[in-house]
Structure formats: structure tokens, C-alpha cells
Point group: C2
Chain length 226, copies 2
């Protein structure tokens, strides 16, 4: 076929330069904006102006992308402070802050063994700061704090999501929850629960978190003193 009738090659767009880092940052942006559901390989690829399959040059599987996302936010978790207690408290608070900044963390934290470089670096900070206490105590104690934080944060975020799912702010959520609970309590099947829910002062999320954390730290302190 002669040149004249042969169509020009469709001017294909310059392939966007990619990197694992760019992919992960994009995925995190999407997740921050619209939750974990907004993170699909197609959507990430689209946000990068790239074919979906392109990503497989950088990650082997979606799971790996999630691993990378998790590890990336571990960069925000760098406890500081003097003495083991301050450091563990800081570990808890920074983890919680990270989760509040990236709600999707609630789905990932603790769900996979965090062995990426950032997670390890975070762990290193803790271990380094805890050299005052016995080698054998460091790991179990840190594990305990992490467990508490992960569970607590999960609960907080689950509640927040449930609130949002009703489309409303906290006040209206409780208003819609109230009648349901009252109806159940009216059956008389949950007397103790009912009095607690009705009579006890209700702490907010921050207070609840800190109270539990301080309890745990107190208990750790007692154990270390032995």
C-alpha cells in the first residue's frame, strides 16, 4: 500500500512514566477521597491515564498494592518521646492519627503482616526507644499496645462509617439509633445494658481511647516493675 493512502499512525499518547511510588500515591489519594472501594486496578490506572494492565509491570497482584499502601502510611507512624511510656503512647497516638487521616487503614491495619521497610523502620524506632526495658519484654509489650490501638481504631472508624451511612451527623445518628435501642430495652431482655446505656456518662472517642490506653500502660508499668 502506498504511503499516500496509508493512514498516519494514530498519534499514540506518550506513555506516562510510572513508578511503584506514583502508583501507590495515586491509590492512596483515591482511597482517602472515596474509601477502599475507589481503589480498583482499573480506577487507579485511569487516574494515571494508563491502561489497567500496565500496573502489572510494577505489582504482581492487587494484594501487593495494598501491602504497599499500608507500608507507605507507616511513614507517618514514627513514635517519639522520652522513656518507654511516652514512646508507646506516641506509637498509639500516631497510629490513631494516621488512621483518622486515612480511614481505609481500618481495613488494612493488622490484616496483613507489616514487613515493609517503613513498617520496620517504625518498629525500629520503638525498639530503639525501649532499650531501657528487658529484651524479652519489648516485643510482647509493643504487640499488646498495637493490638489495642488496632482494635480501638477499628471500632471508632466503624462507628463513624455507620454514622455516615445514615447520611447524617452524630446527633441524628443517635436519634435514629435511640428508638431502636429503646424498643429493644423495652423488651426487658437487656436490663443491665439498658441501665448502663441510659445512666452512665458517655465519653467521647478521644477520652475512651485514652482511658483504655492509659489502663494498658499502667498495667505494663506494673509488669515491668516486677
Amino acid at each position: 500500500m502506498l504511503v499516500w493512502e496509508r493512514p498516519e499512525p494514530p498519534n499514540r499518547p506518550v506513555p506516562v512514566p510510572l513508578s511503584r511510588d506514583l502508583i501507590v500515591r495515586t491509590a492512596i489519594r483515591l482511597a482517602d477521597a472515596n474509601g477502599m472501594d475507589a481503589v480498583s486496578l482499573r480506577k487507579v490506572a485511569a487516574a494515571l491515564d494508563v491502561g489497567p494492565m500496565r500496573l502489572y509491570g510494577y505489582i504482581a497482584t492487587k494484594e501487593e498494592l495494598l501491602d504497599l499502601m499500608l507500608d507507605a502510611v507507616y511513614a507517618e507512624i514514627r513514635p517519639t518521646g522520652n522513656g518507654w511510656r511516652e514512646v508507646l503512647r506516641s506509637l498509639a497516638e500516631t497510629t490513631r492519627n494516621a488512621a483518622h487521616g486515612h480511614e481505609w487503614l481500618a481495613d488494612l491495619l493488622g490484616g496483613r503482616p507489616g514487613l515493609g521497610p517503613q513498617a520496620l523502620a517504625s518498629g525500629e524506632s520503638v525498639m530503639a526507644a525501649l532499650d531501657g526495658i528487658g529484651v524479652d519484654d519489648v516485643m510482647p509489650v509493643t504487640t499488646a499496645v498495637n493490638a489495642y490501638v488496632i482494635g480501638a481504631v477499628r471500632g471508632e472508624i466503624a462507628k463513624r462509617r455507620a454514622e455516615r451511612a445514615t447520611g447524617l451527623d452524630e446527633r441524628r445518628w443517635q436519634v435514629s439509633l435511640g428508638p431502636y435501642l429503646e424498643r429493644l430495652f423495652a423488651t426487658g431482655k437487656y436490663p443491665a445494658l439498658a441501665t448502663v446505656v441510659r445512666d452512665a456518662v458517655h465519653l467521647d472517642a478521644d477520652e475512651t481511647f485514652r482511658l483504655g490506653l492509659e489502663c494498658l500502660l499502667d498495667g505494663i508499668e506494673a509488669r515491668l516493675a516486677k
Copy 2:
């Protein structure tokens, strides 16, 4: 059309009698056997010899099925014992046992506000047994224990799954993990972590869980005494 040439009505199978309970039990069976991935509306329906859409007569959405599954296993979580400490410990242990019996719980626990009848009944047991301590302390304390358990269990199961993903038992998993960690430690970027991992005695899952739990309970005890 005459009867003779009119085909018999295809002998449609007697519609299987269904119930929310049966659906949920089936879903749980599938999840127990093959994990959460084995729970899709189609698969549950197929296991019941039923069209997928049939389920929508009993649940409005898959989320609701998950809510029901979670609530169903709360039936296994009925703490017993004398005194708040025993009861809270029992709460923790029974929750953990349930999660070990149904690994998929790790994905659900704490991920949604547990407000089903079984979950409330479980809560009622706890509240009733905790009437010795101040009304205002009951909820935060229980919340703290729950947070710890959920985080801890999640970690345990994540580790177990990671082990299984390599297709091997614990020993071989550590063998395959070891070299990776050694390589990282060899870079000298994680000195404190390295010494802890290398030098500390490693507690098994039970010991780690209990140690953290007792710390938390100790801390709670101290707080209640004040």
C-alpha cells in the same frame, strides 16, 4: 394447542424452604470451610439449591448477610465467671476462641457496629456481671478489653493466613521469613529491631495474648481501685 402436543410443564423442583437462619448457617459453613471468599450470594444460593435472587427475599444486601453472620457467632460469646476480672477475661477468651473457630471473624469483628440480638445479649452478660463497679466505668473498660481482643485476634489470624499462603507450616514459614529479615538486618538499618528479634525469647500466640490481656486487666484494676 392440544394436550397431546403440548409439552408437560418442566417438573420444576419443589422450592426449597428457606429462612434467614438457614441462609446464615450455610454462609457460615462456607466461610468456615474456605474463608470469606467462599461467601458470595451465588455460592450461598448454590449451596442451598436455590437461585441467587431468592436470597433477596430474606436479606436486602450482602452487608446484611455479613451482619447476620457476625451476630450469629456472638451466640458463642457468653462470658462467665465471678467478679469483673474473671468475666472480662472470659469475654476475651471466648471471643478469641470464636475467632479461632471462624477465622473470617477477623475480617468482621469490630468492622461493623454489633447491634444484633446476640451481640446485645453478649453485652448484657458482661454488663450484668460488672455491676460491682461504677456505672460510668463499665463501658469504657469493656470497650478497652474488646479493642484489645479484636486487635490481637486480627494479628494472630493475619499471621496464620500469611503462613498458610506460603503453603507451609509455621516452621517453614519462619525459615522463609528468616532469610528476608536477615538480609534486611544485614543492612544495619534496624539494629534495635535486629537484636530484639534475635536475642529475645519468642512467646507463642497464647502466651502473648494472655500477657497483654493481664496487663490490661491489671491496669483496669488499678484504675477501679482509685
